[in-house]
Symmetry: C2
Subunit: 405 residues, 2 copies
């Protein structure tokens, strides 16, 4: 097998969120009647139930009508948009972000993640990732032919307001030569928010071992229970060795515009721009203008969005908790729950397919987040509350039908 | 220097089109009065002078209003859009394109190029590119740590309707183990269209030496002088070893939406989708709908666009030809001219900066297309005809001011 063939062999997407139509369901063991009910796709949020920031369409129309000056931008994005966003991130974090040096606009947060990782990692470089964590982190590291150090999160037993990161393993990895550590806060799929202490410890270890940090804080505006959220950039870190990524695709439902940002190290941002120049040139020129609306939503809009999601979380978590053998951690930030199911008598991949064809529900299989999560499913609960609630009833009914005797 | 540092050291963008504001102009030798006149940016087309396909904004509004079902798509793009575009490409080329297997929608044609190259090339793989050809071809190959075989185009002496490719060098490269050959037709920056014979010969060599072809046919709808255009896919090639890329960013002025496609080999398209999943997930969901308008422009719209551009070409080529020592090939397809200038007494990089600060004109420096083109400049003449004409007068005046004695 050639090297390029090897690289692609590892890159599977058939079980990734949104790709479910690729799954083969020819030989499923379907038990009982099909559970009817309105289809719910928990693989991503429902932007009809929770629409984009008010005024989005009007802003786009203006952007299009502005013509050529809006259609093209520097690879790192329109200067006036960078200035606008940098000001808001400066306010959000309390750390001065220079619009010309410390920020880049990307095609979605995924774009930011790809550019950042590719700017930091060459083949055989040592990288630490978490398990479970956003499934593309591993895929990216694999594609870049990195030497991966997976660090475990004991998220089910860690106290609320902490991630459960295994610091002994993390320090051992750093000691062993890891150059980049990538983590998601709030956690995806765990929904855990990192404690101040955990972030301090990450910062101290990174400093001690000269490790670059890549903090994915995509969901940092959607924090529940009036909990305090701590940004990595507020810790005692080397500013040149930290990149934070974020974007309006989730909480703000702007995913259809494909916009993200990365902020932090000038050196890394410079590299990311160079790479952007050969990857996709720029985030779509017209779309970039939508970032003006971000952090400038109507008064009370964000609070209401958080409240609605917190209520959905409460409902779904309560339902799962009533099921014998299910373990679930209530989400502290973001829109994910990651229930661990009781022992079933079919494998998790087939169970997820059964849910799709026999219960009108799409969920993401736990093994996307690490091979050991073969008894977990992930749900993005940014859905219509009633439909989501009914769909979870159907999932629970299916758990009973397939529960191992 | 670490491997990742080495990779980025080669990736320069300061002289790339659209990045001119990064250029340092502190120590320029400015001669005579500044030439006033309306600013023209020849680094890319002017979408105000040549607006996007009629109905674009209305189609976007509908797309946005369609909500969640339009915001998200499979990584390779919305099925209904792939079906729509596949039908049109089938008609355009006469070759059946299966919408589920042979096509992917990407964030711009640059996105298609990146995904295709990254799907075919690992470190140390041998790749043939042309000189001069689209400047990112080399950058991409370098970033992927390929072993690059540059093949020369004798575009100034080749007969009209042929590229002037050096087939001896190409065959030698293939013989030496080149696995991928990438070329742009119509040529960028040459404006040359490949002859049927040339494409036949490329096909035969590719077959003989088992080389995968990547044909960038971005400008294949904008062919001048009623010339016949030949697609690579119509030659006797192994369908599994050919990818063609295209998109509506240029002729159709849709660049602000960032949309491209690649069609061809199922195996390569599958890889591209896997990669898209970690690079940017998908072309923006709302934007994808714009491809419905492509190839379905109002009757006569494309013909008029071609005519207008042909007239601009005629005007600018005529002007440059009057200048002693300038060599220029009239564009056969696309919107580029690549005049070779007489000997100047400043270097080409400084001359381009002089044009910007002292003549209100931006052009792209020839060395972006190969180090040997240090006496060439590239102009994208998709501009307002009068402004472009005046701007070329200013360029010519500057050539005289800096002509070597």
């Amino acid at each position: 097998m050639t090297r390029i063939e090897e690289k692609f062999k590892k890159l599977g997407i058939d079980n990734a969120p949104g790709q479910e139509s690729l799954q083969d369901s020819a030989i499923l063991d379907l038990r009982g009647e099909k559970l009817e009910g309105e289809f719910v796709d928990f693989s991503h949020g429902d932007v009809d139930a929770h629409p984009p920031i008010p005024g989005s369409l009007d802003r786009f129309i203006k952007s299009y009508e502005d013509g050529g000056k809006q259609a093209y931008s520097e690879y790192r994005g329109h200067k006036y948009i960078r200035e606008n966003v940098a000001k808001k991130i400066t306010k959000f974090t309390g750390v001065e972000i220079n619009p010309n040096k410390n920020i880049i606009i990307t095609p979605g947060t995924q774009g930011a993640l790809f550019l950042a990782m590719s700017s930091l990692i060459a083949a055989d470089d040592k990288v630490a990732i978490l398990e479970p964590d956003y499934f593309d982190n591993r895929k990216l590291a694999e594609f870049l032919e990195a030497d991966i150090y997976p660090i475990q999160l004991d998220y089910l037993n860690a106290p609320s307001g902490s991630s459960g990161i295994d610091f002994d393993a993390l320090e051992a990895a750093f000691k062993d030569g890891v150059r980049v550590f990538l983590f998601t806060n709030p956690g995806n799929p765990t929904g855990a928010v990192y404690s101040k202490k955990e972030l301090e410890k990450i910062a101290a270890l990174a400093k001690k071992y000269n490790v670059t940090l890549l903090a994915d804080e995509l969901y940092s505006r959607q924090i529940f229970d009036n909990r305090k959220y701590y940004h990595m950039i507020n810790e005692d870190v080397d500013f040149d060795k930290l990149i934070t990524i974020m974007g309006p695709s989730k909480t703000e439902s702007m995913s259809g515009f494909r916009l993200g940002i990365a902020y932090g190290s000038e050196k890394i941002i410079d590299r990311m721009e160079k790479l952007q120049a050969i990857v996709s040139l720029r985030a779509p020129g017209y779309n970039q203008a939508m970032l003006e609306l971000w952090f400038d939503e109507p008064k009370g809009w964000l609070e209401e969005r958080i409240k609605v999601h917190q209520d959905i979380r409460d409902d779904l978590v309560k339902k799962f908790r009533k099921v014998e053998g299910v373990k679930i951690r209530p989400t502290e930030g973001g829109s994910y729950i990651f229930p661990k199911l009781p022992k079933l008598d079919i494998n998790i991949g087939d169970f997820v397919k059964v849910l799709r064809v026999h219960a009108n529900v799409i969920v993401t299989v736990g093994t996307e987040f690490g091979p050991q999560f073969d008894d977990c499913i992930r749900l993005n609960f940014s859905q219509d509350p009633k439909k989501a609630s009914d769909a979870v009833d159907r999932i629970i009914e299916m758990i009973e039908r397939y529960r191992a005797k």
